[in-house]
Amino acid sequence: MSARTGQSLHPGLNLGEEHGDDHLEAETSVFGFWVFMMSDLVTFGMFFAVFATTVPLACCPGPKELFDLGSIAWQTAFLLLSSVTSGMAVLTMKQEHGGRGACSKKLVFWLLVTALLGCAFLYREISDFISMAAAGGPPTRSGYLSALWSLVGLHGLHVTGGIIWCLVIVAGVLVRGVDRRWKLTLLRWAVFWHFLDVVWIFIFTFVFLGGLL
């Protein structure tokens, strides 16, 4: 077993040797989460496929009337920054919590910054939804709008889930300290959070920018 501690045991940032058994334990747990994440990507893929087969109808306002490029740019910036700060959180755990013990302020700081950026993203997204509905583009208006709302909304739901999960981790490491359970949870949450940003790349490219071209 000890010969394997040096190598990468699963995709994503590995805890490394100084975490001892926690590092080996992460192999099955994180790999399993990757399998889930891949199936989630297929779900998103099908929502994209449905969206791609719909056309904005002449009856209703189209992308140019409904989308606000500035707001999309802000959302993209918030999500990209939060992806980096979530990486900082995992890096802090890897580098400063090799042994068991109380959790550092730095780890909590990065987790809270990530959650805050996620909330800023959601705030912008929800106000965009509200102004879209006000501009005559509610999801019930056409097939295109249904596909648009469900694809972007599904992503928004994932972000909401990710924020709640992040806050649960903050509570967990504060109460229990950074033990094996919370280390593995943090690793899996980071994979989830990074993938939300990957999905967002496709959303802003094909849905928003592609629509505005």
């Binding site: 045991l9 990757w34 891949m38 791609a52 490029l69 993209t76 910036a77 980096v84 990957v198 071209l213």
Partner: protein
């Protein structure tokens, strides 16, 4: 040394991802036009690779075989399902 290298990796990824985001947004805000679409798609694909490489630490070397197979198989399934849907329905659309 190892620590700063890991931090540097995230920051490199951030710089590249920011660049690959700014290019398509500026393009749509200024030039526009259907011909810019290819640049959008190219930037998106590059940025996904940047995210996988620098944030999610997926690489072709030093990775366990099953991990890479998992990612590639998912890519294949997505290609079949999304590509197939667009192909079939796009074909029907042109016949309408």
């Amino acid at each position: 040394m190892e620590k700063s290298k890991e931090l540097y990796r995230y920051l490199t990824g951030f710089a590249l991802a920011a660049l690959l985001t700014i290019i398509p947004f500026t393009l749509v805000a200024t030039v526009g036009g259907a011909r810019s679409y290819i640049v959008l798609v190219l930037c998106a694909i590059l940025q996904v690779i940047v995210h996988l490489r620098f944030f999610l630490h997926v690489s072709f070397r030093g990775q366990q075989k099953e991990d890479l197979q998992l990612v590639l198989f998912t890519g294949f399934i997505l290609f079949l399902m999304v590509g197939g849907t667009i192909w079939v329905l796009g074909d029907l659309y042109t016949r309408m």
